[in-house]
């Protein structure tokens, strides 16, 4: 029985660790802020849940699983809320995103300096086959690297209106 518990919790812990790690890689590798946040928030909650569940099996019949459950509950509540709040703030401040025009809202220009470093976004490697992602990435990729932000945004909007698949194919 103990062995079974150990194996179960080992599986949970290692899967959780893997998930957490994948999330970290996602945060590193994803092309722009919102996708990065997606990677972080989903794996955060999932990985944390698995790890805490794995620990819970090891806790035995004490106060420990209860505390772990409380931690889980808090993380489960706070992590998505924090992600929501952050995404909201980023969206309102006008962080460059490929599908910005879908919000249908033009933001005042001076908010742009929310971009702390004026470095242009690095263009992503456009080879993912998924339709939506491809459209998004193609749009970003099509945006010229250097010119002023306003121009960049216009370009983004234009390319986004074009058939997305075509742009993606061209790129690849």
């Amino acid at each position: 029985m103990d062995l079974l518990l150990d194996i179960a919790s080992a599986v949970l812990l290692l899967t959780g660790g893997l998930l957490v790690f994948v999330g970290g890689v996602g945060v590193m590798r994803m092309p722009e802020f919102f996708t990065r946040m997606h990677a972080a928030s989903v794996t955060d909650t999932g990985g944390a849940a698995l790890i805490l569940a794995g620990l819970m099996l090891q806790g035995g019949l004490t106060l420990v699983p209860l505390k772990l459950a409380a931690i889980f509950l808090f993380l489960f509540l706070t992590s998505p809320t924090a992600s929501y709040a952050l995404a909201n703030a980023a969206l309102l401040s006008g962080v460059a995103t490929a599908c910005r025009n879908q919000t249908g809202k033009q933001l005042p220009e001076e908010r742009q300096d929310a971009l702390s470093a004026s470095k242009p976004q690095t263009p992503p490697v456009a080879k993912a086959p998924a339709e939506k992602a491809a459209a998004k990435k193609a749009a970003t990729a099509a945006a010229p690297k250097k010119p002023a932000k306003k121009a960049a945004r216009k370009a983004t909007r234009k390319t986004a209106k074009k058939p997305a698949k075509k742009a993606a194919r061209k790129k690849s």
Binding site: D6, R36, A85, E110
Partner: protein
């Protein structure tokens, strides 16, 4: 079991490094906030696993406190952005008034 904890710890630590790198790279300030938030949750997990690894699971209180505190930080940041936006509008209006 020790090695499982150890492996999980390593995974979490590497993720912490990745979060720190994201925090250093930016490029937007939101990326940095994201990095802080992510770092916070990773610290919670790290402490939870470490307290099992060192055989003192009664230290989970710390992880609980971290989870709560991390949340407040994100709220403070959110409020900061919001008030900054309004303050800038006010400044712009004042400039225009001149």
């Amino acid at each position: 079991m020790e090695w499982v904890y150890f492996g999980t710890c390593i995974a979490i630590l590497i993720t912490m490094v990745l979060a720190v790198v994201r925090g250093l790279m930016g490029p937007t300030i939101f990326d940095r906030v994201l990095a802080v938030n992510m770092f916070g949750t990773k610290t919670v997990l790290f402490i939870a696993v470490m307290s099992f690894l060192s055989g003192r699971p009664d230290f989970l209180d710390l992880a609980l406190a971290y989870a709560l505190i991390n949340f407040i930080g994100v709220f403070a940041v959110l409020l900061f952005f919001q008030s900054r936006g309004v303050r800038r509008e006010a400044e712009a209006e004042r400039e225009a008034g001149k």
